[in-house]
């Protein structure tokens, strides 16, 4: 059971209470900017007269969590995807990888961190709703159990099919998200990404990374074996040469420092290098 948000785009009046509450809850500096930034974690955008919120989708299998090299982004057991600024090294892979373009960076800071909605995890852990849902005057943003919200979304679409586009955004996008959106206009016209895979993205890299241990073993054995096989050929050849010329070893190709002292002391490396 994990928590989520349901945003009903048809109920949004664009009042901005969600942005204001988010600023207050997370101690973010004003003003409320026109787009989400490291300092403004949610806004209400206007696309062709339609209101649409921008915020983190809190994926069920988050891409940002899978790419962060130091695990600064994690998915909590409660559901929200949160950020630990103390671990972050600023590689910005999360910003590059997130299919929804959610995480933002403090480009203006000498000591920068990432900023994104954390679904008020502190409030959630106290049993309260996320700040945006708490203050929304129309109930456009609702907080609750993600599955229950999905059922509510489906019920609304069934009940008023002329009011809604028949799709719950976030049900399967990127493998499913904690934030679901239903809308009265096509999602593409709201500036939302509609070309995303319907499976979780982390699998794309995990299927490569998971093979590494066996790869190391196989490749290592192969290389050592090759070294042994070809070395045998060289030993044979060297023995022949030594036999022919009566010289001590040789053909080892070692580079000697050329000055008087070195020529006397230059020795032969065992493995010939």
């Amino acid at each position: 059971m994990s928590v989520g948000l349901l945003f009903d785009q048809t109920r949004c009046i664009g009042c901005g209470a969600c942005s204001a509450a988010c600023k207050e809850q997370n101690d973010l500096p004003l003003p409320i900017e026109e787009r989400t930034t490291a300092y403004t974690w949610t806004i209400v955008a206007k696309e062709d007269g339609a209101n649409i919120r921008r915020l983190c989708f809190h994926c069920l299998e988050p891409t940002c969590v899978s790419v962060c090299p130091v695990a600064a982004l994690t998915r909590t057991p409660e559901g929200p995807v949160v950020y630990d600024s103390k671990k972050c090294i600023g590689c910005r892979y999360c910003i590059m990888a997130c299919p929804f373009g959610v995480p933002k960076y403090q480009w203006d800071q000498a000591v920068p961190v990432v900023g994104k909605c954390v679904m008020c995890i502190d409030r959630v852990r106290e049993g309260k709703a996320a700040a945006c849902a708490t203050v929304c005057p129309t109930g456009a943003t609702m907080f609750g159990d993600r599955d229950a919200l999905a059922r509510e979304a489906r019920a609304r679409i069934v009940k008023e099919p002329d009011r809604y586009v028949d799709h719950i955004y976030g049900l399967t996008e990127a493998g499913g998200t904690g934030v679901l959106v239903i809308a009265g206009v096509p999602f593409a016209s709201l500036g939302m990404k509609t070309d995303l895979p319907q499976q979780p993205l982390p699998m794309l890299t995990w299927q490569v990374l998971s093979k590494i241990p066996s790869f190391v073993l196989v490749w290592g054995v192969f290389l050592l074996g090759l070294h042994w096989i070809t070395g045998r050929r060289d030993e044979v050849r060297e023995a022949e040469i030594a036999g022919d010329e009566g010289r001590e070893g040789g053909g080892d190709g070692m580079i000697r420092v050329v000055d008087e002292g070195a020529r006397r002391s230059g020795g032969r490396g065992e493995d010939g290098r």
Binding site: C68, P197, T205, A262
Partner: protein
């Protein structure tokens, strides 16, 4: 003593390259100051829409890829036991080591909090490709250092330590090849996570394999170019007898790479897009022509491949195509989905150029003071400052000299 007199004694010329180097380094220092006091926004043209730019695309992706000659050459000499390539191992390992050191320095600029770069040692995320790259690069830089240390010991005439290190050279080379295979391919795996963002001309699940093969080819091309530049700077001749067979290896690698790209593009439909070329299609065609078609076309001609100028020209094209490919992946191919156009700022360019310049300088210093090349006579420890005396070296090598 005046600066001029001291410089003359050290035989340091204020020539064109030296002045250029001085200007680049001075600008580099200035940019460093801005970068660390005012942050990335003041220094770069990066943004939330475009968080990775020149420093990732060039310093990291190209820097690591072009240093791949080290693992290729050490594998050829140690694993395949083709000992005759020995003479070019040292400069290639040096190039590799310097390359990886410069990548690390470059990361100091690109990371938002570079003083935390060690965090990957204690905070683990095995699901992250970047975690794996970080570890492999850290370990491999150590391997390169250990592979190079015998050269230093030789210079310092520390025979016992040198011999001890030589004993572990095969395990080191095997570790190096494994680590290199892993991280060279992982640089490509970094981009597996953005199927909806990277243009289909470059996005493919085969990215790790493409990156590995192109790194092998690029590393060989860099070995050729580094031999040529050393020849020009230190009066060495190009070891054609060694570079020519390597060039054949490069042809095979580039051929496989090119064929793979064509097959992938015909399968994912991007090839059809070339009929109506737009910006990305144009960039791809240039990259493919310079990086694959021209080098392969030139090098399969025996006369070209066996001539130094032909080899150098083909390798130069291969390197330019390599760089263009990785910049296309990190910049060109990501622009459309990001909604913005990205061009590096002059400060970003300064840092990247500065790192290359520092690499050249470090390489020159190493050749001067360490036994990198066999016939360059290294001055004894007792006489600092003298240039290598090639005539003396040749005399010392001849059978008539005394032992």
């Amino acid at each position: 003593m005046s600066v001029r007199a001291a410089a003359r004694r050290a035989e340091f010329r204020f020539g064109f390259y030296e002045s250029l180097f001085g200007i680049v380094v001075a600008l580099f220092a200035l940019v460093s100051f801005v970068r660390y006091t005012r942050g990335l926004g003041a220094t770069t043209n990066l943004s939330d829409e475009f968080p990775w730019g020149l420093w990732v695309g060039f310093d990291v992706l190209c820097g690591v890829g072009l240093a791949a000659g080290a693992f290729t050459l050490t594998a050829i000499v140690n694993i395949f036991n083709l000992r005759r390539f020995e003479p070019i191992v040292r400069p290639t390992v040096l190039t590799g080591f310097l390359g990886y050191v410069l990548v690390s320095v470059g990361l100091m600029f690109d990371l938002g909090q570079p003083w935390r770069i060690w965090h990957a040692l204690i905070y683990w995320n095995p699901h992250s490709v970047m975690f794996e790259v970080a570890w492999c690069v850290m370990l491999y830089t150590a391997v390169l250092a250990l592979e190079f240390v015998p050269v230093v010991f030789e210079r310092l005439r520390l025979e016992r330590p040198r011999r001890i290190f030589k004993m572990v050279s095969t395990p080191l080379v095997v570790a190096g090849v494994i680590l290199s295979t892993l991280h060279q391919s992982s640089l490509g795996s970094l981009y597996l996570i953005v199927p909806s963002k990277l243009h289909p001309l470059w996005y493919t699940p085969m990215l790790p394999y493409l990156f590995l093969i192109s790194a092998i080819a690029g590393g060989i091309a860099m070995t050729v170019l580094e031999s040529y530049l050393s020849k020009r700077a230190f009066g060495r001749h190009l070891e054609m007898d060694l570079l020519e067979p390597l060039a054949r290896g490069m042809v095979v690698a580039l051929g496989v790479y090119g064929l793979l790209r064509i097959v992938i593009l015909s399968r994912n439909g991007a090839l059809a897009g070339l009929a109506h070329p737009g910006y990305e299609e144009g960039m791809f065609m240039i990259e493919f022509a310079i990086g694959v078609l021209v080098p392969v076309g030139l090098l399969i001609i025996d006369r070209v491949r066996t001539s130094p100028s032909g080899l150098i020209a083909a390798s130069l094209c291969a390197v330019m195509g390599f760089v263009m490919n990785r910049l296309n992946i990190s910049v060109t191919g990501m622009e459309r989905a990001s909604g913005v156009r990205y061009l590096p700022s002059w400060m970003e360019i300064t840092v990247s150029l500065g790192l290359v310049a520092l690499g050249f300088a470090a390489f020159a210093l190493a050749v001067r003071y360490l036994p990198i090349f066999p016939e360059a006579a290294v001055r004894p420890v007792t006489q600092p400052g003298a240039l290598p005396d090639r005539a003396r070296a040749r005399a010392a090598l001849s059978p008539e000299s005394e032992t």
